[in-house]
Symmetry: C2
C-alpha cells in the first residue's frame, strides 16, 4: 500500500548555494546535513509537511549522481514513495511488467528497505520505494 | 509560510499508458482527469498522502508543455509547494534575489493563487507556489 511521498531528491552542484534558495529564501527548515559515503553524496534534509526535500551534492564526479549531474545538470532526480509491504508492492509491479532496478529491496543501516523502479517503466521518472522500519 | 508539497507534476506522452504504471501497477487511486484548455494539457490527479501526483499530457505540441516534452522527454516537470501568505513568500524570495516567472500571483477559476519561480533561481527545479482559497 502506498502511503505518501517520503521525499523528492534534487541533485545540486553546490549544497550551500542551493540552501540559499530552499532554506534562506523559501524558508524551509534544515533538519540535518549528512554524508552518505555509500552513494558518494552529501545530503541536506529539509522537512516540508509530511515529506522532505533532499538536496544531493555528489562528492565524486565518477559516482552515479556525479555522472547524472554532469550529463543532465542540476534538477529533480527522483521521487520516493513510502509504502507498507514493499515486497507485495514490488510483486505487483513486476506482475504488471514493470522493470525494477532492485527486485529485492536493499536495506539501509537504520532498517529502511528500499528499491528503485527503472525510469523506463515509469515514463521517465526515477521512482524509489521506501518501507520504514517499524517503530519501537 | 510553507505548509506542504501540494503536487508533483509529471509530463507524459500518453496519459493512459502512464496510468498503467501509476494507477494500475503502483496502485494509486485516480481522483479525476480533466482538460486544462488554458495550458493545453489533460491532467490526471492521483492523491498520495497529503499531496498529489499530476500527470500532464499536452494536447498541443506547440504549447509550453508540448515543447518541453519534445525537448526533454517524459519526466518530472515541476514541484508545487503550498504556502500561506503567497505575497509575503514572493516578497521574501525577491528580496533574496530569486527570479520569479510570476512576481504577481495568477489566479485559477476556483480561487487558487499561484506563481512560478524561475528554475535558474532554484537550481534547475521549476517550483510552483500555491495558495489555496480559504474554505467556506
Amino acid at each position: 500500500m502506498i502511503t505518501r511521498i517520503n521525499h523528492i531528491a534534487i541533485v545540486v552542484e553546490d549544497l550551500d548555494a542551493a540552501l540559499g534558495f530552499w532554506r534562506d529564501a523559501l524558508g524551509l527548515p534544515l533538519d540535518k546535513t549528512e554524508e552518505n559515503p555509500g552513494e558518494n553524496v552529501t545530503i541536506a534534509f529539509l522537512p516540508i509537511g509530511e515529506a522532505e526535500i533532499e538536496l544531493l551534492e555528489p562528492t565524486d564526479p565518477a559516482s552515479g549522481i556525479g555522472k547524472y549531474l554532469a550529463k543532465k545538470g542540476a534538477g529533480m532526480h527522483h521521487v520516493c514513495v513510502e509504502v507498507t509491504g514493499i515486497d507485495a508492492v514490488i510483486e505487483r509491479l513486476v506482475a504488471h511488467g514493470v522493470e525494477m532496478i532492485n527486485e529485492t529491496p536493499r536495506v539501509r543501516d537504520e532498517g529502511t528497505r528500499y528499491a528503485f523502479v527503472h525510469p523506463k517503466s515509469a515514463f521517465g521518472v526515477l521512482v524509489e520505494l521506501y518501507e520504514l522500519p517499524e517503530g519501537p
